[in-house]
């Protein structure tokens, strides 16, 4: 297998101007990922700053209510900044520092990755600029202010659909203009090699912990592991250390928006085709001429027209399955988990909770599901209230 690819997926489809810097990044990562000092420092940050390990929580009420498989929640929502994004960001920001960079830039959709990046930059003394679609800066104005509070500069991107895809375009373009002192801190398991590998490695702490925790709690491996998927970083992190456990089913839950037969969804795996975009060969929502389609989801974090190449590969070889969850199902799950367990999940994570609700009752009581609760839902409260017809002033 080509080392930049997962089967036929992945690669480095980027402008020539960025190639040398990508090669530099690849070399630096190879060096520091094996470096004792780097790893010690990262471990310390994850433990003492991010709050790892995150809990593997037995959702007793939910389990009893659904009357099937036992449900565990991997509580990434309890991390500092409220989602799994911090795992990757601390790793990449530290890498930037070891590479001698003074400045980091990043794209963000909902603002979770932007907030995490701004946080890590504040901690490690790096300059920080965030690219965010204009549309998203309006939908997530609270996160814009949060990033500014943390010392970052937020640029509203006005080209194209003005969402996550365009934020990535703009961040890449800006990076090609200034890379000597700047690292592009990519938020998901996507983009050109080595990003899908770097982000997966930094996120794999999720499944490393979960695997140990479930063995300790239950003395056995789970039957199913599931996570929501946009670009796919929390899903890849949740799957990775279970890939070789052939009896563990891996399920990614993507956004069906208003339905996969409408034109308002972000169901890349269900509706997309193979293409080449954002530096990678993977699966994308696109028209027959190869133009990237505008996508939609109630969840800004899943509102992306592609998916990471390793997911495309896991799907192709049949190792992982991907299902689509509608806005309505996700909102139901958002409300359900809040009421039954006293945990408000991110609307992204609610897509995985929704599928657990469907799947658990069909399974036996001695079977086990682990759901990655990738983020907390405080950021979504006003939007969900609005979805239900109540206007709240934040």
């Amino acid at each position: 297998m080509n080392k930049t690819k997962f089967g036929q997926f992945g690669g480095q489809y980027i402008p020539e101007v960025l190639m040398q810097e990508i090669i530099n990044l690849e070399k630096a990562y190879e060096k520091y990922s094996k470096d004792e000092k780097f790893n010690k420092e990262l471990k310390d940050l994850l433990r003492n700053y991010a709050g790892r390990p995150s809990l593997l929580y037995y959702a007793k009420n939910m389990t009893e209510n659904l009357g099937g498989a036992k449900i565990y929640l991997k509580r990434e929502d309890l991390n500092h900044t409220g989602s799994h994004k911090i795992n990757n960001v601390l790793g990449q920001a530290l890498l930037a520092k070891y590479m001698g960079k003074k400045r980091v830039i990043a794209e963000t959709g909902a603002g979770q990755h932007g907030v995490a990046t701004a946080t890590a930059a504040a901690l490690l003394g790096l300059e920080c600029e965030i690219y965010m679609g204009l549309e998203d800066t309006i939908r997530q104005s609270l996160n814009v202010y949060r990033m500014e509070l943390l010392g970052a500069k937020v640029h509203a991107v006005t080209f194209g659909t003005q969402t996550l895809k365009d934020a990535v375009n703009e961040a890449m373009k800006e990076w090609s203009k200034r890379y000597e002192d700047t690292m592009y801190l990519l938020g998901s398991v996507m983009g050109p090699h080595p990003y899908p590998t770097i982000v997966r490695d930094f996120q794999s702490v999720i499944s490393k912990e979960a695997r140990e925790q479930i063995l300790e709690l239950e003395g056995r491996l789970p039957n199913v592991v599931m996570a929501c998927i946009g670009g796919g970083s929390n899903a890849m992190g949740m799957f990775y250390n279970f890939i070789n456990d052939k009896d563990v089913q891996l399920i990614g839950c993507e956004a069906a928006g208003l339905g996969i037969d409408s034109d308002k969804h972000a169901a890349t795996m269900t509706k997309g085709n193979i293409g080449i975009f954002h530096g990678m060969k993977s699966i994308f929502c696109q028209d027959k001429h190869g133009h990237i389609s505008p996508v939609y989801s109630i969840s800004a974090g899943l509102d992306y027209p592609g998916v990471g190449p390793e997911h495309a590969y896991l799907k192709e070889i049949g190792r992982a399955n991907y299902v689509a969850i509608t806005d309505e199902e996700a909102v139901d799950a958002f409300e359900y988990l809040s009421k039954i367990e006293g945990i408000i999940p991110a609307i992204e994570s609610s897509h995985a909770v929704a599928y657990a609700k469907k799947l658990a009752p069909t399974m036996k009581k001695d079977e086990i599901i682990i759901v990655c609760l990738s983020g907390r839902g405080d950021k979504d409260v006003a939007a969900i209230a609005k979805y239900r017809g109540r206007i709240i002033n934040e």
Partner: protein, 255 residues
């Protein structure tokens, strides 16, 4: 028979336009008038929804072309029409995804049918060329290599493998002070010449006759993009005669 060598017989003037901006009929007229005004080659942009490596001027041209629903099948038809009037060398400038979706085999066959001499793919670096190499070679279409002088070893590697001509992008980001990079550019051209016999054209940021004259001294050809696209943005369907005047002026500057 590939036409690129012919286009570099003298100092070459290469003009970039976006197919379908504002519509394909205008594109056809503009290509013909470029040819009549003395341009040696047309670099024809294929519109894409997400042109990440373009200036904002060219990005806007992309949007206008997509608005007029310009896609590859009708672009090939237009080139076929153009061929009734002019045999000017044409190369395509496309992101990889529209080509991938059209199908590599079919795409390069079609290029050959309408005498497209080469293709520039901004998101297909040296490392991924094998993606299309077989089909391009089979149909005698050159994959034009972009060179950005950052790492000298990389410049050499790319040059040794390059076909058609080298598309040299001398400075990063800002292009206003290219004259200031002269010694650097001359050095890179020396390196390139040691590693390849094919011609070298300089792209990015050449707008005025003075710049054209300046850069044609040190390279085999110059590529002008934003200048023409701006004229088309301004004069819309009436662009052909204004592009003619502009090309004429630029051509005179490099002779």
């Amino acid at each position: 028979m590939n036409n690129i060598n012919n286009a570099f017989k003298n100092k070459s003037l290469i003009g970039f336009i976006m197919a379908g901006d504002p519509d394909l009929n205008t594109t056809k007229e503009v290509i013909i008038s470029m040819s009549q005004a003395g341009a040696d080659m047309v670099e024809l942009g294929i519109p894409f929804s997400d042109p990440i490596a373009e200036s904002s001027i060219v990005q806007s041209a992309n949007l206008r072309a997509l608005k007029s629903e310009t896609y590859l099948p009708s672009i090939f038809e237009m080139i076929k029409e153009v061929r009734k009037t002019t045999q000017i060398s044409i190369i395509l400038h496309s992101y990889i995804n529209p080509v991938f979706n059209y199908g590599y085999e079919e795409f390069f066959k079609k290029c050959s049918e309408v005498n497209v001499d080469g293709i520039i793919i901004p998101d297909l670096p040296f490392e991924e060329k094998s993606e299309i190499q077989y089909y391009a070679d089979k149909n005698n279409v050159n994959i034009i290599s972009i060179v950005v002088p950052i790492d000298i070893n990389r410049v050499e590697t790319i040059a040794k493998d390059a076909k058609g001509f080298i598309y040299l992008v001398p400075s990063i980001g800002s292009t206003s002070s290219m004259e200031g990079h002269l010694s650097e550019i001359t050095k890179v051209i020396d390196t390139l010449k040691k590693n390849t016999n094919i011609p070298i054209a300089i792209g990015f940021g050449i707008n005025t006759a003075q710049q054209a004259s300046f850069f044609s001294e040190i390279a085999d050809g110059i590529i002008i993009g934003n200048g023409i696209v701006k004229i088309i943005e301004k004069y819309n369907k009436e662009s052909a005669k204004y592009v003619f005047d502009y090309i004429k002026e630029m051509k005179n500057a490099i002779i």
